[in-house]
């Protein structure tokens, strides 16, 4: 979806989001309250510059507008696959962005992610996946990598992966599968402005994704194993 169309539907009361080199930033009105918006568009790969620009916008919000919610609009094909990015330590730039978002959360900024088009692995892990809660539009593509690449690396035939991806949420791309796995809190349909306002009201600081994954039948062991390790108990089949 075009980000301008999305912004108009999310923020009918107005916004001043601007795009600069596929990086989105600005502020918007939600139920009479200002929120900061950061994000990316046109499936742009996340390289060191965009990661740093997003981090700067988060830090500016923390400094200038204590407590203001932050909405992250996610559309990326993943981390940029270039030698220069690796030379400069792209993992450090990504971690820095993740730490800035985490700091904002701990200082009382509600942070929500919304995958409105595409989200792949490295670009997703320090944006939507580190927010208090992450949502997606129904048609959003979310995945770790394409099946051909996955087949090459795992040495599992692509036909076998394709077959598994049909009904197995562990492999299949797409928002409904990430919802089942607990990686998404919900999928927004219809009135996006209302969905956003409600999500901002409901967001909490606890990482509940393992719990959600078990409730929804997508990840049956994560919560049980983490609890067993934490409490020193046994693991029983879920």
């Amino acid at each position: 979806m075009d980000w301008k169309l999305l912004a108009a539907r999310l923020f009918p009361a107005g916004h001043d989001i601007v795009e600069s080199g596929n990086f989105l930033s600005g502020s918007a009105q939600v139920e009479g309250r200002q929120v900061s918006v950061i994000g990316t568009t046109e499936h742009t790969p996340i390289g060191v510059e965009i990661a740093l620009a997003q981090a700067r916008a988060v830090l500016q919000t923390v400094q200038a507008h204590p407590g203001r919610p932050i909405v992250i609009l996610v559309d990326t094909q993943g981390q940029r696959l270039r030698h220069r990015d690796e030379m400069l330590g792209i993992n450090s730039y990504m971690a820095h962005l993740g730490k800035c978002i985490d700091l904002a959360r701990r200082r009382g900024h509600t942070v929500l992610g919304l995958v409105y088009d595409q989200a792949l692995s490295g670009g997703f892990i320090t944006s939507g996946l580190i927010a208090d809660a992450c949502y997606a539009l129904p048609e959003a593509t979310i995945r770790v990598m394409g099946l051909p690449a996955m087949a090459r690396i795992t040495k599992v035939p692509e036909e076998r992966l394709t077959e598994l991806a049909r009904d197995n949420p562990v492999f299949a791309p797409g928002a409904p599968n990430y919802l089942r796995m607990g990686g998404l809190h919900g999928i927004w349909e219809g009135d996006l402005a209302q969905a956003l306002a409600q999500a901002l009201r409901e967001a909490g600081p606890q990482d509940r994704r393992m719990e959600l994954g078990r409730e929804r039948g997508g990840r049956m062991l994560a919560q049980t194993v983490a609890e067993a390790v934490r409490g020193g108990g046994d693991v029983r089949p879920a």
Partner: protein, 300 residues
């Protein structure tokens, strides 16, 4: 004793006080990945990671060691949940510190979506530990390096300790070569791979805070030093620290404009004869680096 050549279960007693480590959910518990069988992939009874608590210099330190010999140390549903459970327990029991012996290719592709979410849960759990005031130290010195989501997670720790042989990055050279061609990154050019992702470059750039020789005793000593320093100065991630990191990362972009090779970057830092950097022994390298490296935090 070479740290690189040890496996995860050998590293634990080499780093922690001998005989002190108690493993949570040990192999006898028989908890394996629920997703590997459908791909006819082998399972491991620890799912490639040892988690528990032990003593380090007499202090109660929680820890984990990833096993590079099992699926490259990659993170699946159970592997990730064991790390998260250990990190949460470290907070419950007010650990002195958490020590992560990382060796990982990142997300385990056989459990794609579950692995991706698990890595993000590990990142949040590491930051929860720091927010509780408990130092987190990451060690990267295994043969498989530390890549993908775990390369990001490592940089969520307070301190990263590396050897020259350790590698810390995001996408592996093969992945980049496959995506953008051999001219972009020649994965078979081992010297290029090491000077791009290896410990010396990371140390010069400020992405790792301590560099040691490939020796288990040296890693142990560096971990003890790092924990003592962090206990004294505080482990909580502060706005001030993130603003300093923002400046460091912005400066790095400005200072390396149009540079294509770490040799150019090192020359730009004022290092005489940058081509000699890869051949220097750890001690000689540290003496040289002292004068040129980018400080990665206040007071360094």
């Amino acid at each position: 004793m070479s740290y690189l050549e040890l496996n995860a279960r050998q590293r634990i007693p080499a780093i922690f006080d001998p005989g002190s480590f108690e493993e949570f959910l040990p192999p006898a518990a028989r908890v394996t990945s629920p997703h590997l069988a459908q791909l006819d992939a082998p399972v491991s009874f620890d799912d490639g990671v040892v988690v528990g608590r032990g003593l380090l210099g007499g202090k109660r330190v929680f820890g984990a060691a990833q096993e590079g010999g099992f699926m490259g140390g990659a993170v699946g549903e159970v592997h990730g949940a064991k790390l998260v459970g250990m990190l949460r327990r470290a907070i419950d029991e007010d650990a002195h510190a958490v020590l992560l012996l990382l060796e990982s290719g990142g997300v385990r592709l056989h459990e794609a979506n579950a692995g991706l979410i698990a890595v993000s849960e590990v990142m949040r759990a590491i930051l929860d530990v720091r927010a509780a005031g408990i130092p987190v130290v990451a060690v990267v010195g295994g043969a498989n390096g530390c890549f993908g989501g775990m390369g990001i997670a490592a940089r969520c720790a307070n301190t990263v300790i590396m050897s020259e042989e350790g590698r810390l990055a995001m996408s592996g050279p093969e992945v980049i070569e496959t995506a953008n061609g051999v001219e972009e990154f020649d994965a078979r050019d081992r010297a290029l791979v090491w000077r791009t992702t290896g410990g010396k470059h990371r140390y010069l750039m400020g992405d790792c805070q301590a560099l040691v020789a490939d020796d288990a005793a040296a890693f142990r000593a560096a971990a003890l030093d790092a924990i003592a320093a962090l206990r004294a100065q505080g482990a909580v991630l502060s706005l001030e620290e993130l603003l300093a990191e923002q400046d460091m990362l912005a400066r790095r972009l400005r200072d390396t404009e149009n540079m294509r090779d770490p040799l150019e970057v090192w020359a730009g830092m004022g290092i005489p004869e940058p081509a000699r950097v890869p051949v220097l022994e750890a001690e000689a390298f540290l003496a040289l680096a002292q004068r040129h490296r980018a400080p990665s935090r206040k007071g360094e």
